[in-house]
Point group: C2
Chain length 903, copies 2
């Protein structure tokens, strides 16, 4: 996936064919066949051992939902002919009691949504085929397979309409039987026990639904197909799509495939593997398998599987075959693959392959290695990595040298370090964590299931007792960059008691623990974390990105520390230094209040003189951190009342005093002042340059601080390149007025200080009128910086502070294609930006153009900024590498498009 795509969706096909045999498709048909279907087809055609099957297209899914959950007429006929093809090639017949064909039914959308939708295995079993099969196969296995079918099909196809048909209900029956039989593990139950279980499951179905479990394999198949289609719209799938920006319109395909069994004995097994290490990128097959198990057992994390290297010892021939498949697939797809396989009686089958999800560090190592191996070139390497993945490389690590108490060790399933309180259910984690009450929580589960997604996303980190590196939980956690320790069998989790025990200790809900995802460590208490060292591969890769990109990348920073961090991440200067942030800091705020509430000019000036000392020192620190790189400083922007106490609080306090017949003249005067400064719509009130026009002393002080600071640095032999930015300009005269006043101050300071300071003045383009009249404004500005937060607010008339109540429904009801505060609204706000660029450059071709709204760190917006010809983007320090990569990709994508056009 590429985050720089807009909402991801399918191309439209006009096709009457609704069912494709695997041999009829290929890897390019992902829109129609889904990723899994297209890859099964591709693998079939390149000669890999894929059990035969067919794919029902994504269009059928859309049709199904469009007409209110109804399969299109004729579909089951097409399905039956495809089945006939399978029957012919395998010499088995679906529903034939003598030699029954069994099939699986799996979802598969264009973009991988691991575990979010439903799967049903073993279709084709019924009382009759079971009876026939037990005569020729291991009876326990046959009954086990049937009981699994009853449970899965009941759960996915009937539990929505019939409470009591859920997986859990069947597990209760299973547990009761085990108790009766005096056994604890599944494997201890013999064929007779399993047969009894099938009977009890069938009886349960009849009791709950009033009808027997469907015996007709065609009925089973149709029920399973419909269940998969319906699962496209289950809650966890919807949440996942929102998060991953996948369109709701693309639908899922359904893959029907002949069953192979990994659970038919000790010469059977099933596994999942990556062609390279998904966590580190190491070029070594990496995966896990379980002998005598079905795929779900590995993926669901119920049993902790064995590392793939073990297979080499256990079965060198199968391992050799498997390694050859890995190599072939990697060369074929020219990317690391994620492969599902099954061994049935010593024969290897490949059930799925897809481009493997990987952590940021792994993505970088793989890309750099593959370039070295000659598999891909540098451009491909740069284009291949989702910029957002770089976040993983910047995740904090435990400060080196820290001593800490390791409670247990598990698998290093997701990188990074995290500290938080232990929480034992996803609901509570979602409630307390990110997006909720913003507490730091670690979600601890025996095993995680897709239902836990919400809670995982809200957590700082995830810890599971069971499940391997390729369990869904680990996979999802890694995809989202959540520090995760999985399969930590040292601990024993009880979600009922909300605690886990480890070596005699008990950690209860609310106790603080830490995770070291990189090493799989579970730690007692909190640990100090810090920025990671950036590795050689990271720097090589980012160097390539820098070769291609045309956009400069600056950072938004107000402190020397943030500045230094951003420069380590590759920032080429500061694009936005917010001066008012400096006003909010502890000891300064009273001085700022004194300045605002001053009765006369002398009092105001004395407060400003104090602030000058603070601000000058701030700027000196930032100049030094910048080491000669440019700094765009925005003059004070927010309305002054933001620095004063809250009106509502004061009203309450004074009302209470008055009702008690008391009086506090100071407080009353403060209330009066705050009331007089109160604004109905402060966003469009006395702020930005308006403030500078009405109270010029503040920005005169700021200009003085900026330039005196620069002089100090320059005198010490350093370099300082201040670019003074006047905000909220809508009419050229505003800029002209303020600029002229400040240039007078600037000339004065330069004269006093006796050093040359290379300052320039420019403006933000953040009100629509600024963009519309950019030709006039450019005359007075040496640079423009797009303030796209405010520009979006005013272009839409959306107050960001208040927009939650309508913007969320807007996005979820698809009234807007996305949140315009996240990614630039190119057809609205973007039109104004382009207008400003065109008009500004028309009068001043050398005009420097940047963006400093939050969009400056968002890949799709960065591509847009590249397209309209900005000189740089500016973003928060942690997004600097992302912006560098996104900028490179924008430049490369443009080149590709140019090539296409040249053809």
């Amino acid at each position: 996936m590429r985050a720089s795509d807009p909402v991801r969706s399918n191309q439209t096909y006009m096709s009457n064919k609704r069912v494709y045999l695997f041999r009829e498709g290929n890897a390019t048909m992902r829109d129609l066949l889904g990723g899994k279907g297209a890859n099964l087809a591709e693998m079939t055609n390149i000669g890999l051992p894929v059990p035969p099957g067919f794919t029902i297209t994504t269009e059928v899914c859309n049709e199904y939902h469009k007409v209110g959950n109804q399969l299109p007429a004729g579909l089951m006929d097409e399905t039956r002919s495809a089945l006939a093809d399978l029957e012919k090639s395998l010499g088995k017949t679906f529903g034939d009691p003598d030699n029954p064909l069994l099939v699986s039914v799996r979802s598969g959308a264009k973009f991988s949504m691991p575990g979010m939708m439903d799967t049903v295995l073993n279709l084709g079993l019924n009382d009759e085929t079971v009876d026939a099969l037990v005569k020729v196969q291991d009876a326990r296995f046959v009954y086990d397979s049937y009981r699994r079918l009853i449970m899965m099909l009941s759960d996915v196809a009937y539990s929505d309409t019939h409470p009591g048909m859920g997986k859990h209900d069947f597990e209760v029956i299973f547990a009761a039987l085990k108790t009766e039989l005096g056994v604890s593990g599944d494997l201890e139950i013999d064929a007779g026990g399993m047969k009894e279980l099938c009977k009890r499951f069938e009886a349960h179905v009849l009791k709950v639904t009033g009808t027997p479990f469907p015996q007709d394999p065609q009925v089973q198949l149709q029920a399973a197909i419909e269940a998969v289609f319906r699962s496209w719209n289950n809650e966890r799938a919807i949440i996942y799509r929102r998060r991953e920006k996948i369109s709701d319109d693309i639908g899922t395909a359904v893959n029907v495939q002949a069953m192979v069994f990994g659970n038919r004995g000790d010469d059977c097994g099933t596994g999942v593997a990556f062609t390279r290490n998904a966590a580190t990128g190491e070029n070594h097959v990496f995966g896990e398998y379980l002998m005598n198990a079905q795929g779900e057992d590995v993926v669901a994390g119920v049993r902790t599987p064995v590392h793939i290297d073990e297979l080499e010892r256990q079965n060198p021939e199968i391992y050799r075959q498997f390694k050859a498949v890995c190599d072939k697939l990697e060369r074929h797809y020219r990317d690391m693959q994620d492969i599902e396989f099954t061994i049935e009686h010593g024969k290897l089958f490949i059930l799925q392959c897809r481009t493997g999800k990987r952590t940021g560090p792994a993505a970088i190592k793989i890309a750099v290695d593959m370039v070295a191996e000659g598999l891909i070139n540098k451009e491909e390497a740069v284009l291949r990595i989702d910029p957002e993945l770089l976040n993983h490389c910047l995740l904090p690590v435990i400060s080196p040298g820290t001593k800490y108490n390791v409670l247990a060790k598990g698998l290093p399933a997701g990188p990074g370090a995290a500290t938080g309180i232990a929480i034992f259910d996803a609901e509570t984690a979602a409630e307390l964590g990110k997006g909720g009450k913003d507490q730091k929580v670690i979600l601890v589960r025996a095993e995680t299931s897709p239902d836990d997604l919400k809670g995982m996303l809200a957590a700082q980190g995830v810890l599971t007792e069971k499940g391997g590196m390729t369990s869904h939980a680990a996979l999802v956690a890694r995809g989202f960059g959540i520090p995760t320790v999985a399969g930590c069998s040292d601990i024993s989790v009880s979600s009922a008691r909300k605690e886990f025990t480890v070596a005699g200790r008990t950690i209860k809900e609310g106790d603080v623990i830490s995770l070291n995802g990189g090493l799989g460590e579970v730690i007692d208490g909190a640990v100090p974390v810090e920025e990671p060292k950036l590795t050689g591969d990271f720097n090589v890769f980012m160097g390539w990105a820098d070769e291609y990109r045309k956009l400069g990348v600056r950072t938004n920073a107000d402190t020397p520390a943030d500045t230094a961090l951003a420069i380590r991440f590759g920032a080429e200067g500061i694009g936005l230094c917010r001066t008012e942030h400096m006003f909010f800091e502890g000891e300064r705020r009273p001085v700022v209040q004194r300045m605002i509430l001053a009765d006369d000019d002398a009092e105001r000036q004395s407060a400003l003189d104090e602030l000058l000392v603070f601000q000058r020192a701030d700027f000196v620190g930032i100049y030094e951190a910048l080491e000669g790189r440019p700094m765009t400083v925005r003059l004070i922007d927010p309305p002054l009342h933001e620095f004063l106490p809250s009106l509502e609080v004061l009203i309450g306090e004074v009302a209470v005093l008055k009702s008690q017949g008391k009086s506090d003249p100071e407080k009353e005067a403060l209330l009066e002042a705050v009331e007089s400064m109160h604004e109905i719509n402060p966003m469009m009130g006395l702020r930005g340059c308006r403030l500078s026009i009405v109270f010029p002393q503040i920005v005169q002080m700021q200009t003085r601080a900026i330039l005196e600071g620069a002089a100090e640095v320059i005198r010490k032999g350093g370099k300082a390149v201040p670019e003074i930015m006047i905000p909220l300009v809508g009419h050229v005269n505003e800029l002209k007025f303020v600029r002229e006043k400040l240039e007078a101050t600037a000339r004065e300071v330069v004269k006093e200080q006796g050093v040359e300071i290379p300052y320039v003045f420019g403006t933000m383009i953040e009100v629509p009128r600024g963009a519309i009249t950019a030709d006039e404004i450019a005359v007075e500005a040496e640079f423009f910086s797009f303030g796209t937060n405010d520009l979006t607010q005013m272009t839409y008339g959306f107050s960001r502070d208040d927009s939650d109540r309508f913007l969320k429904p807007y996005v979820s009801q698809k009234i807007l294609p996305g949140d315009p505060f996240e990614s630039i609204d190119q057809s609205g706000v973007g039109v104004l930006m382009e207008m400003a660029v065109t008009k500004g450059k028309a009068v001043k071709p050398w005009l420097k153009l940047g963006i400093c709204g939050e969009h400056g760190g968002e890949p799709r917006s960065i591509e847009f900024c590249h397209k309209i010809g900005l000189n740089y983007v500016s973003c928060s320090p942690y997004r600097v590498p992302i912006a560098r990569l996104a900028a490179a990709q924008a430049a490369l994508n443009e080149r590709v498009k140019v090539v296409v056009r040249d053809k």
Copy 2:
């Protein structure tokens, strides 16, 4: 003047000539010579008896201010040569003790600013010339002239820098002398007394300034010229220019002219006259004069002058000459003229002519008459009248049949009726009246002076004891449409005691009085007022306007009464019916609150059902008033919290209760609800169509009310043409979503009601994004209506509620050319409007386009709307005639420009 001009200013001249003799100029040179200078030149050249003189150009004034109040080098030399020309033609020499030339120095800008700047008369007198003159002329007159010079020149040239040199200081000395001499009137003082007065005045000057009164006529002249230039920037001149939208850059010219004297005896006199009646338009010379007086005596209103008709009896020959001059000037200028004249020893001199200011009714009558007389054509008539003047025709009159008690009668100086409390100084009037505390006040003055301007503008009406129909006070009051009774000699005003007496009664400050401006009546107490009947001439004239205009004119109205009024004024439908206004009315508000605070849907629906009954009845009334004309109804727009009690008040109340240990659960719940709905920037919050998306029930109810009301009217045989307008659309999907929902409701109602209702849906273009994406939005809209209030707010990022603190300084410091909420900001907001028109029409050529912001009634904005091709403008009822005329002028101006281009 034409209000549809932008800020009025001069064309630029590049000329080295700075002084023009009257015979060197002409009427087209108003930019350079000012109106007065250009007309003096024109009159000189067409052979009227104008005393010779010359004009110093407006450019010199600008130069003077640019270099910090310094006359340009060489100017006084040029002035001296021009003086030499005068000396030659009159056979007198400036400063010559034997036969001195005396001159006046007067201001004169391009646009008339009556009385706002300074004048000095009798320059050239000094001790020496006075001594010489008394030998050959009436000694009393000579001394009287000199003492006037001392006082005037001291006041205008020196009082700024020397307190004690003001007019008042000299008047104190004059009064003391009168007391000493035991006389009361000026005329009782003989030559000796006047000579003594001159001595005392000179002594006073020496005492205050340390130097003697300047004896060198050249020094006097230069001081007077500079004083006139400086007076361009005195406070009252600046206020006047703001009010009249005259640019500060155009400067004033200075006219230096040989003195003629109306105060040299009984065969002398001076007067001011209009060629037609400025109050009624009657075609009869109308004016006033005083024998043996100087011009200032008439203009300043110190003595109540005699009607010009009297002159015919007193001096038929002079009257005949004067009438001939009037006729010649009116034919020459093809417009009613305002003429200043002086008679010196039986000889008539014309000192000034200019296009006469007139009331709205007069303007209409004159225009209609002049068309009938063949002096101008209909197009000229329509183009000539400032649309704002039509306001005068719509001023309220006392309800016919009302009995009231007339206290006194004066001159009917300004039309209309007014009631208010009597206030005796301009300061207090400004404080209490319009723009202040908005009380209704009547300003009562013995005589008004230009200093009273602020107070007059704040008053409902003006009453003066002295001064005629052409006094400054009357002129200004009439120009601004302030009901005014002038020269009401029945009353005796004491500003010291703040009262006036009339026939033994005393009216004190704060007592309520009324004025009937049309009849010059002063009335005891309040009177009921009503709309005037519109006269035949008005209808004829507006008929002409309607012939030319292309824009439709609708009205903004929410009640049947407003609708009926607007239709009387010529509205062709409703362009904006604000449905929420109906929600604010008394008995409905609790129901609205119940709807908003409802706990469940049933409760909400029951409140909405109640509101439906109200709204339906409202719409029926409006449809009936419209008699089949279209009505654009805007669905609910403001945030819901506007209908709830104030958050601040509730906070105070609950805080007090809590501090007293009391509890009021209902109030606390209300506070909680209000708090939860509170918005930081409600202007950009949950309002407009956003509200309709989040709470669709409200607009479903409104749609039902609109259409059920229409059905009711149609069933009764009437006609109803509802256009349903969805506000605040920024993205086409918003419109689509709401429209689809409401069309379902609409179809339902039509089906229920069983009648055809010709409804359409459209939208407002009022957020910038709406304009930018108008091509997308037009697909879903049958009409656009520009909401230029909000569009201006968001394009500039100016919250109108909060903009006072910066918008006023912006306008006064000329950062903005004007208030964008008054007249459309054509280079910003206008660009978006044009974009919307172009893009909208591109996809839907028949798209109906209108404007319903307040700009829809402002002439310059209307011209812009015409230019960009809107179909109609909509404005408040009282502005409908103004809009009709402005629309006609826009069409005619375009035609003129087309003709020019065709040449």
